[in-house]
């Protein structure tokens, strides 16, 4: 069964510009998908719909076969969204408090919240900073904290919106390593990026968007050939092994 599906999903902004138009996509559980396209092609708008953060102008989104609006709380705890700017996602006074934000909202017991916080912080290797204030963290650590905040809700799908932006080489490697580990632990991964050379070797599938529409969809090997038509840089080298991790 498709874990996530969109049917004729359309989003038109109040000023009549088109955000996304007639998107029909299906995602299988366990898939690693890259969502790519130039700035303003509608990637972020699309994934905000996956999380029920926007109301479609037309069409709908199904999670596990049911419309996401049927149970938004369940949808949002099952589909984690790691925002582009971690600064916007961090709301706690301490690292641990921020990770606890989601589970507490779900109404879990204090012991369960604590267990999840510890588990999530261990997973991203930030346990030693649990009592630090978030704003003293480095860019890479902040992004890992944002990931931990999403992990603590124990989602099935994790969506990353431009997770490499503004990170240095070690930062990119840390975050990439993290994403791969999550994928190995049976999370479905949707990753928005236009920096294909950093990650393409790990993906099963790449979707390219242009001006609000899906223009290419398939395995990296197939898609990569025509990618330059849509304003993306064609990376050099072997698609199968293309990664910033050794």
């Amino acid at each position: 069964m498709n874990i996530l599906e969109t049917q004729n999903l359309t989003h038109i902004f109040p000023d009549d510009t088109i955000g996304i138009h007639d998107i029909n996509l299906r995602f299988q559980a366990g898939e690693f998908t890259i969502l790519s396209g130039t700035n303003g092609s509608g990637k972020t708008v699309l994934v905000k719909h996956f999380n029920g953060l926007l109301t479609p102008s037309g069409g709908r989104v199904l999670f596990e076969g049911k419309p996401i609006t049927a149970n938004l709380k369940y949808t949002r705890s099952s589909i984690g969204l790691v925002f582009q700017d971690s600064n916007n996602q961090i709301v706690g006074q301490t690292v641990a408090e921020d990770v606890a934000f989601g589970p507490e909202n779900l109404g879990l017991s204090p012991t369960e919240v604590k267990r999840r916080v510890q588990k999530a912080l261990t997973a991203v290797d930030l346990s030693h900073l649990a009592n630090q204030r978030p704003y003293v963290l480095s860019g890479g650590q902040k992004r890992k904290l944002a990931i931990a905040g999403v992990l603590a809700m124990e989602p099935k799908i994790i969506i990353f919106d431009e997770p490499f932006t503004g990170l240095d080489y070690p930062g990119v490697r840390q975050v990439l390593q993290q994403i791969l580990e999550l994928h190995h632990n049976n999370h479905t991964i949707i990753l928005i990026t236009h920096e294909l050379e950093k990650v393409l070797g790990h993906a099963h599938r790449i979707i390219v968007m242009d001006r609000g529409k899906v223009v290419m969809d398939g395995s990296p090997g197939k898609v990569i050939a025509g990618i330059e038509n849509y304003g993306l840089k064609k990376p050099h080298g072997n698609v199968e092994t293309m990664t910033w991790l050794q």
Binding site: H11, F13, P14, G19, V45, K48, G52, L53, L54, T55, S57, L72
Partner: protein, 196 residues
């Protein structure tokens, strides 16, 4: 209290944003030519909060600001904190801020929005309300005469206050459209969120 619409969440975040701006405004100072006292921007953000968020959310922002200060956090102008400031000679201005945000939101948000109404509201709130409270505070705490209170608490700040009123009104015109939701969000209602 149990359930909140996303619209409310958005206003909660904006209200906190203005609390933060009012605090930061106390750390930012601008020199004014031919004037001995530099101008801080706290009251400027109080005016903007009233204009952009409306009476109740604007009031909430200022109330939060004073509450945090009362708890001893260094949020008042120049990093001061605590009851020392609230009961001190400048404490009247803080209560003036509180009244100003409500007054400006109330006048400017009533009926149709217009630049002229913004200007009148900002002038009443930003000059008359804030400084009346300020003068009363000075007179009560320092036990001085009205004239002395005016001389130390109002006169040096008046040119700055007028500039801030005008700047707040101009900025409010440019910033209002930004407060309209960029996306059609899952909120139950989306209409007029800047003057409820």
């Amino acid at each position: 209290m149990a359930k909140t619409s996303p619209l409310n969440l958005r206003m909660t975040v904006y209200s906190s944003l203005f609390t933060a701006l009012i605090i930061i405004g106390g750390y930012l100072s601008f020199p004014i030519p031919m004037n001995p006292v530099p101008v801080v921007l706290s009251d400027f953000f109080v005016l903007l909060a009233g204009l952009l968020l409306g009476a109740s959310w604007g009031f909430t922002s200022v109330a939060m600001f004073i509450f945090l200060g009362a708890l001893g956090l260094p949020v008042f102008a120049g990093g001061k904190a605590g009851l020392a400031v609230i009961v001190g000679p400048t404490g009247g201005f803080l209560f003036g801020f509180l009244a100003a945000a409500a007054v400006i939101g109330w006048i400017a948000g009533k009926g149709k929005i217009s630049v002229l109404k913004d200007l009148v509201a900002s002038f009443i709130a930003g000059v008359i309300v804030i400084y009346s409270f300020g003068v009363i505070g000075i007179m009560l705490v320092l036990k001085t005469t009205l004239l002395k209170a005016l001389a130390i608490g109002v006169l040096p700040f008046l040119p700055g206050a007028v500039i801030k009123v005008i700047a707040a009104v101009i900025l409010a015109q440019v910033l209002r459209p930004l407060l309209q939701p960029q996306f059609k969000s899952n909120a139950n209602s989306n209409d007029s969120n800047d003057n409820q």
